[in-house]
Structure formats: structure tokens, C-alpha cells
Symmetry: C2
Subunit: 342 residues, 2 copies
């Protein structure tokens, strides 16, 4: 590219021999200009790598091309993966995603929503903290910006919800565990979002349906250090002999990873082979679950389906507006991933 710097679209238009409004049109949609002019612009584009000023563009557009993506905790690889795939879809759809992590704190979540509002995004994909979220503020936000909730539901909020059908996935696991050994007890922490509650309910339901007595073990713990909660809670449970079954279904994989660490520390062999005395299963197919010792039997969520589904849903709302009717919920099925821990 040539050395000369281009200051604005005016200058660039001059260099390419096209009028500024046409250049503007090109950047909004390259196919909206004649082929010959498109080529002239693109030729100039290679000589001087010019980009329209981001702020000027967004100030003047009726609606920006920005998409906000909010996850509760990006240090959780599950959400990192969700965010990544959603980002991809947004870019493919011609939008500019900005990803934010609430870092597990309500204050952060609120602050992010305020920042997002000032970005006037075309839409937002929000995986909320869940129970900790400030319902009022989220609601006010959803009134202003087309928002699709992902993963964790907040009843009645947003234009749509995309997530996993816990009442399909958990029974799948419960039935598998009952079929292959002792019926499981359910290991959980204080629920951070509705999924946790749904999973417990689904566990209880399917146990009863199978004629077994459900048994829920809840351990203390706050925040998003799930492994740590699973670990220290697991130690206590094991030491106090609170385990009512030699099969444990954990509310999620991270909790299971912590529980496995506790079992290891107490010299308890985990797995499905003969010398093992404990089976542990999780839920979510966390990216690291393949590499635990033993590898974790779990329920996989279809990242791709969730991200594609949520982005497509949002795009519809952006194009056609948010319908005033009842909120549309989409629940995907989970799949059983049999590994060696249960």
C-alpha cells in the first residue's frame, strides 16, 4: 500500500475517483454499487488501507451493527466456548460483536448493561448470572434493546430464550446410571441459576418415576469457584459419611471435577471398573471433562446448535422487530457422553 495516509472518506473517495456517498454506500453493502465502481473502490482500498471512522459511522447510523454478548463468567471454559461460537456467527452475519464477562458479580452485570446501552447495539445475547441478576435492571434493558437470553433463563424476560432442556437431559443420565449400577444421589451447591433448580427437580422426578428414592446432597459455597466448592464440600461429605449412594450425579461438570479431586484425596477410586468404589457423573461436557482422571461421564450440550439458534433468533428480531406476543423459548436436547467415571 502507498505511503500516503488517508484522513477520511472524502479523501479516499477522491483517490478512488468515486463520490463520497457512493463510497459510503459501498461500505454499508458492497453489492449495492455497480461492479465497475466496486472494483475501483477495492483497488484503491488495497493501495491505501482506509477504514471508515468507527465512531462517526455509529453516531450517524440509525441502528448500529453492534451485537453485545454477555456471559456470566468467561474464565469458565464452557462460557468461553459459547461466547466464541456466538462471536463467529455474528461476524458471519455482518455484525460487530463485543463480548463482556460479568465475572460472576451483579455489579459488573449491571455496569455492562449500562455500557451496552450506550453502545446502542442492534441486539444483545445475554447469558445472565441468573438468580443473582437484578431483575428490574435487566427488564428495563430488555425493553430498550432486543435481547435474547441464553443458557440461563430469567422467567418472562427478553424476547426469547435459548437453552438446554434439563428435563430431557437429566433423566437421560439418571436412567443410564440406574441401568448400569446403583441409583445416584444428587450433588449440588446453592443454585446460581435456574438450571441448577431444574436439574434437581428433573433428578427427583426421574428417580421417582423409576421407583427409587431421590437423595439430594447440598453443600455450602458462594461464587463461581465451582471446583473449589465441589472439592471442599466433597471432602466434608465423604468424611461425614453423608453419601447415600455409591453413584453421584453432580449438578455440573465443574462441581464434579472438584468432587473427584476430593475423592482422590481420600483415596477413593472413582470409575466403572471393578476396583472402583464410586461413580461420578457430571453435566455440560465441559471442555476439560475429557481429561479428568478418570474421564468424566456427562451430558453434552450442543454448543453449535445453541449459538446458531440464539444468533438466528436475534437476527430475526433485529430485522422484523420484537413481536409483542408470548416469548419464544427454544430448548435443545442434551446427549449422553459415556466415559470412564460412571
Amino acid at each position: 500500500m502507498s505511503g500516503q495516509k488517508i484522513r477520511n472518506m472524502e479523501e479516499f473517495a477522491a483517490k478512488s475517483g468515486v463520490s463520497r456517498p457512493t463510497v459510503s454506500k459501498y461500505f454499508n453493502d458492497p453489492t449495492s454499487v455497480r461492479k465497475s465502481t466496486r472494483e475501483r473502490i477495492e483497488e484503491a482500498l488495497e493501495r491505501y488501507n482506509f477504514r471508515p471512522n468507527l465512531y462517526a459511522v455509529n453516531q450517524n447510523r440509525r441502528l448500529t451493527k453492534n451485537i453485545g454478548i454477555v456471559v456470566p463468567y468467561v474464565a469458565d471454559p464452557f462460557f468461553a466456548e459459547i461466547a466464541r461460537t456466538i462471536e463467529r456467527r455474528c461476524i458471519d452475519a455482518g455484525f460487530s460483536p463485543s463480548t463482556f464477562s460479568s465475572h460472576g458479580s451483579v455489579e459488573h452485570e449491571i455496569e455492562i448493561l449500562e455500557t451496552l446501552r450506550s453502545m446502542r447495539p442492534a441486539g444483545v445475547l445475554l447469558a445472565p448470572l441468573g438468580r443473582a441478576s437484578d431483575r428490574k435492571k435487566v427488564e428495563a434493558f430488555c425493553d430498550d434493546v432486543p435481547t435474547v437470553l441464553v443458557d440461563s433463563n430469567i422467567e418472562g424476560l427478553g424476547a426469547a430464550f435459548i437453552g438446554l432442556d434439563n428435563f430431557q437431559s437429566v433423566p437421560l443420565m439418571v436412567e443410564y446410571l440406574c441401568r448400569t449400577g446403583e441409583p445416584p444421589c444428587f450433588f449440588e451447591m446453592p443454585p446460581v441459576n435456574p438450571n441448577a433448580n431444574k436439574r434437581r427437580s428433573a433428578y427427583i422426578q426421574s428417580m421417582e418415576r423409576l421407583g427409587h428414592t431421590p437423595h439430594v446432597i447440598r453443600v455450602e459455597g458462594q461464587g463461581w469457584d465451582f471446583e473449589d466448592i465441589g472439592y471442599s464440600g466433597g471432602l466434608r461429605v465423604l468424611d461425614n459419611g453423608e453419601l447415600s449412594s455409591r453413584t453421584v450425579l453432580c449438578s455440573n461438570d465443574r462441581l464434579a471435577i472438584g468432587f473427584m479431586a476430593a475423592a482422590y484425596e481420600r483415596g477413593i477410586r472413582v470409575g466403572i471398573t471393578d476396583e472402583c468404589t464410586l461413580r461420578i457423573a457430571g453435566h455440560d461436557d465441559h471442555p476439560f471433562s475429557r481429561f479428568t482422571c478418570p474421564s468424566l461421564t456427562t451430558i453434552s450440550q450442543d454448543y453449535d446448535a445453541i449459538s446458531t439458534g440464539s444468533v438466528e433468533t436475534l437476527m430475526n428480531f433485529i430485522e422484523d422487530g420484537v413481536p409483542s406476543g408470548p416469548r419464544s423459548d427454544t430448548l435443545f436436547d442434551g446427549h449422553l457422553v459415556m466415559r470412564s467415571s460412571a
Copy 2:
């Protein structure tokens, strides 16, 4: 707050009974206006929650208050943590951080830098991909924007580099391993960044210094699925009997986690107790290393020191400009974290 919507600063100024330029001044620095006017503005601020239009502000400011944060792979909890702490520091310093992940791909990294350039940030904290990075493009970027490199160095680029002193940390581990058992071999994958090379060199140096013969085992593998590379590579190494020592020092924790999974699958007991036949150590103190089975002995990086140091360095460059002299490098010490795997 009152129901009425404020459209712009003009309207808000009218409501608060202050002139618009004064309101503008207030938002740039609340202490720059008289106390009485500050109170009037803040009072109005509570009634109508107004925020200056983000795009208009940034279009007109000579220099934005934006800070770009780029990490190579946010699904790696190590980088998620680095990004999180750096974000925090930037906010505390009155800046608006935007975090991006290259997702392990050069194309992404380049695209992010182009996006960042169009954001005209006050500065950028860049944890580059490393070897895969497009040196030319990064260099061009650094010429335009004050950039501090973090974690992974690219020789001579950027205004400063903040990272870990691998030549301090690795010998620490090697000496520990030699002191407590069989001298380690070094398990690595094709290096993705200079740290990997430095660690290998540091391993070889310190082994020789201690009078032992270094032995490096490199396994194949591309991309950022380190656990998977460590796992499949580990299986091959174990099956082929390529292991020259019963102590393995892995180039990083994620590789070690994969290797441990392979050892587990082959029925090899890992740890420092009597019944174990293999010791495995890592590097980085990955957030999950506490919860592996057995828990991973590793080197911890001081996240806080790195993030604080890098942000402070950047702030200096933003205020005083980038000095033309030699680049300043800051290397922090790592600390030995003894757990039960080695």
C-alpha cells in the same frame, strides 16, 4: 428517576441549569468544575440518568479513553484470568477496556488489530499468539498505538514487555525435582510462543548445571488444544517406552493435564507417594491445576503483579509518550507450588 428521556447533552444541560460545555467538562473530569455546579449536575444526573453519546465523545476527543486488551485464547483460563485482572486495573484508572481473543488464529489476531486501530485506543495490552503472529502487521500496529506486550514476547516489538522470567522459574522446578527424585525429562509440543523455547533452554541449562543429561521429548500437535496434544502425545510416548525418566516436567500445565490423563488411561499411577511410578510437573499454575488427580505441582505466575505492572507501564506511555530509547522489559519471578503430582 424521572420518566422524561434526555436526548442529548444540550437537553441535559438545560435540565440541570448549567451550560453544555460545562457539562462536557464535568464528564471529562468532575473535579474540574466548581463544587456548587458539580452538585447541580449530579442532582440532575439522578433524576434523568443521562450518559454522553459514546460515539460522539470518541469521535471528537483527541485521544479516546479506550484500552484494547488482546489475549491469544480466552478459553484458556490462564488468559481469562489475566484479561480479567487487567480489565479491572484499566477501569480503576478511568479507562474503558475492550477485551478480544484471537482464538488461536493469526487471521483473528490481525483482524482484531485492525478493529482496534479503528477504535483509536489510548493504548493496547497485547498478549500475542507468539510465533504464529504476523510480525510485520504487529509492528505496524505498534508504530501507531502505544502497545505493551504481555506474557509472550516478540523480540523488539512494542514499547515494553511484561512477563515471567522462565530462566528463573524453570530452574526452580528442575532443582526441586532433582533434589527429591529422579531428574526430569522435558515434555513439550511444537512451541507456539517464545516462552516454550525459553523453557526448554532453561531446562537444558539447569540440568547441565546440575550434572545431569537433559532429555527433551517433543510430541506432534497444532493449535491451542494443549490438553489433547498432551494426551495423545502422552499415549504414544508411554506406549513406545520413550520415557527416559520417571519424572516428567511439562512445558505448561495444560500439557501436563493431558499427559496425566494419558498416564491414567494406561494405568500408571502418578504422584509422589510410594505406590506411584511417575512424577509429573507443570508450569503456570493453571486455575484447574489444584483439582487434577493428583493435584499438579507447578510454577505459579503472579497474575496480580503482571497485570498491575503491565497496566502501569502502559499508563506511563499514554501520559508521557513512548520513549524512543530501548524497550523496557520487566520479568517477574515464578514461585514453586508443591502439590502431590511431583
